[in-house]
């Protein structure tokens, strides 16, 4: 979809055109999934989050004042839904069952487990910046905070993670969950 087509569809969606809204959501489907998968650890929860985001966005799109921020606005709704689902499900991080062979490229499960232990909004900030690989400017936009505040949150998160991961006890955290 070209920029022009995108802009046209955003304007139509904001004017209440259902089909334009559908096209935009389909266009963003992959990004919505990747974002939700960064914040949630289960595809079923991701589907719930995306579904709720679509319903909420469709209801509110006609009130969107700045069509240019449609994407950011939709991501913010998704992040909110992911947080809500995570809170509702009392998320627990589960390490996948061990395989017979050692995979040198395997993720650091202890680190990922520690990430899940961070309080909000530190956890979302870390995940969006490091796991979703979004630049600071984008994360601060999505989380509606200044870059200074975001940097401060990331600093606190790293401090907390370093503290946990530096202790032997902390390195076993993933196993104990």
């Amino acid at each position: 979809m070209s920029d022009l087509a995108w802009e046209t569809d955003v304007k139509l969606a904001c004017a209440g055109e259902k089909m334009a809204f559908e096209r935009l959501v389909r266009r963003m489907g992959g990004e919505l999934y990747r974002m939700s998968r960064t914040l949630l650890r289960d595809d079923e929860d991701c589907a719930d989050a995306i579904q709720e985001t679509i319903l909420s966005a469709y209801k509110g799109v006609v009130k969107l004042r700045e069509p240019a921020y449609f994407k950011t606005w939709l991501f913010r709704i998704l992040i909110r839904e992911c947080r809500r689902i995570r809170k509702k499900n009392a998320y627990r991080f589960e390490r996948p069952a061990a395989e017979g062979t050692v995979d040198m490229g395997a993720p650091d499960w202890d680190l990922l487990a520690a990430l899940e232990q961070l309080d909000e909004p530190l956890r979302t900030a870390v995940k969006l910046h490091y796991l979703a690989d979004l630049p600071l400017s984008r994360v601060s936009e999505l989380m509606e905070v200044s870059e200074g505040t975001l940097k401060s949150r990331l600093h606190r998160a790293r401090k907390q993670l370093a503290k946990w991961l530096d202790t032997t006890h902390g390195r076993r955290m993933g196993n104990e969950l």
């Binding site: 259902k18 089909m19 559908e22 490091y130």
Partner: protein, 323 residues
């Protein structure tokens, strides 16, 4: 652990994430959510509302409903839902919801007689079946339009007819005709089947040179005679193709969409790659694909005059859709 090292570890975790491709079950949930979104309520058809409808017609408002799902403008292989209204038949088994039309609806205009036998509505198309009696061996210059209470004119998708052997010297031949149209986009209270006589278009072609890029807020407007106008809202120059976006406003939108062309600087018509594709049928919005062109290439849009229709009121059939 130092912050720098932690930073590197966190960044390396990026590679540990999934490949990011949406799994089928998530994609299906997304699609079913989109399909289930209700149509916006209390909306008349925008194009017709601009064309000076009478007070009575303009006051008709249709409430949206989830029953009539949207197929995104593209024909689907199998319908999501289907509803059949048939004359004198019992409720059919299977996914189709059958309602008996009673009494039978027939119309006559001189020697032409039509009887409505079945209306099928689905998420992919709308089908009208008729029994027809017409003069033998005469090709009547009559077309058939389908519209509804919102004023939306349905996209014609083709027709079939079958006329049995006619006794020699019989002035009348009997047969059946089936007309297919695009789907409903709101839940209409009724459909209107409107036969009309073909008329010749008056006037000459209208040419507009492309001197600046058209946009939705500053479209190129090309009058198409008495029928209305076509509005070019964008030209996208791609490596493989050039896409022209446009919409039409007027009395015969589906004819208007095919009645404009593109010419090069030598006045030669540039052949399009395929037919105009409706991107939003409900608003009569289309794209037309052409071979790759460059933005500095002089182009001219040419609009053909399009005739309005002379409706045959005696043959018009209003099909109630409420049970």
């Amino acid at each position: 652990m130092s912050y720098d090292r932690l930073d590197r570890v966190l960044r390396s975790a990026v590679g540990s994430q999934e490949d990011g491709v949406m799994p089928e079950k998530v994609a299906l949930r997304m699609e079913s959510t989109l399909a289930g979104l209700p149509a916006r309520d209390a909306r008349r058809h925008p194009s017709r509302s601009l064309r000076g409808m009478g007070v009575a017609a303009a006051s008709i408002i249709v409430a949206g409903g989830a029953l009539f799902a949207v197929s995104n403008g593209a024909l689907q292989e199998s319908p999501i839902w289907k509803r059949v209204l048939a004359v004198g038949s019992e409720r059919q088994a299977g996914p189709a919801d059958t309602i008996t039309l009673s009494p039978m609806i027939d119309r006559r205009n001189g020697t032409l007689s039509i009887t409505l036998t079945q209306v099928t509505l689905s998420s992919t198309d709308t089908e009208i079946r008729l029994n027809v009696e017409r003069p033998s061996g005469v090709n009547l210059p009559i077309g058939y339009e389908l519209t509804d209470d919102t004023g939306y004119i349905y996209q014609p998708l083709g027709s079939d007819s079958g006329f049995g052997p006619t006794p020699r010297n019989s002035p009348i031949e009997k047969g059946t005709m089936t007309f297919r149209y695009g789907p409903s986009y709101d839940k209409p209270d009724y459909l209107i089947f409107r036969p009309y006589e073909y008329r010749n278009a008056q006037g000459s072609d209208y040419r507009v040179n492309v001197t600046s890029a058209p946009t939705p807020s500053h479209p190129l407007v090309l009058p198409q005679g008495e029928a209305g106008s076509v509005y070019v809202t964008g030209i996208e120059y791609g490596e493989d193709e050039t896409v022209v976006r446009f919409y039409v406003e007027g009395e015969v939108p589906w004819e208007q969409a095919y009645a404009f062309t593109l010419e090069n600087e030598h006045g030669e018509q540039i052949n399009r790659l395929d037919s105009a594709f409706p991107t939003n049928p409900y608003r009569y919005e289309f794209i037309m694909r052409y071979p790759p062109l460059t933005p500095d290439e002089p182009l001219t849009f040419v609009a053909k005059p399009v005739a309005t229709r002379k409706y045959l009121g005696d043959l018009e059939i209003r099909v109630p859709l409420s049970d």
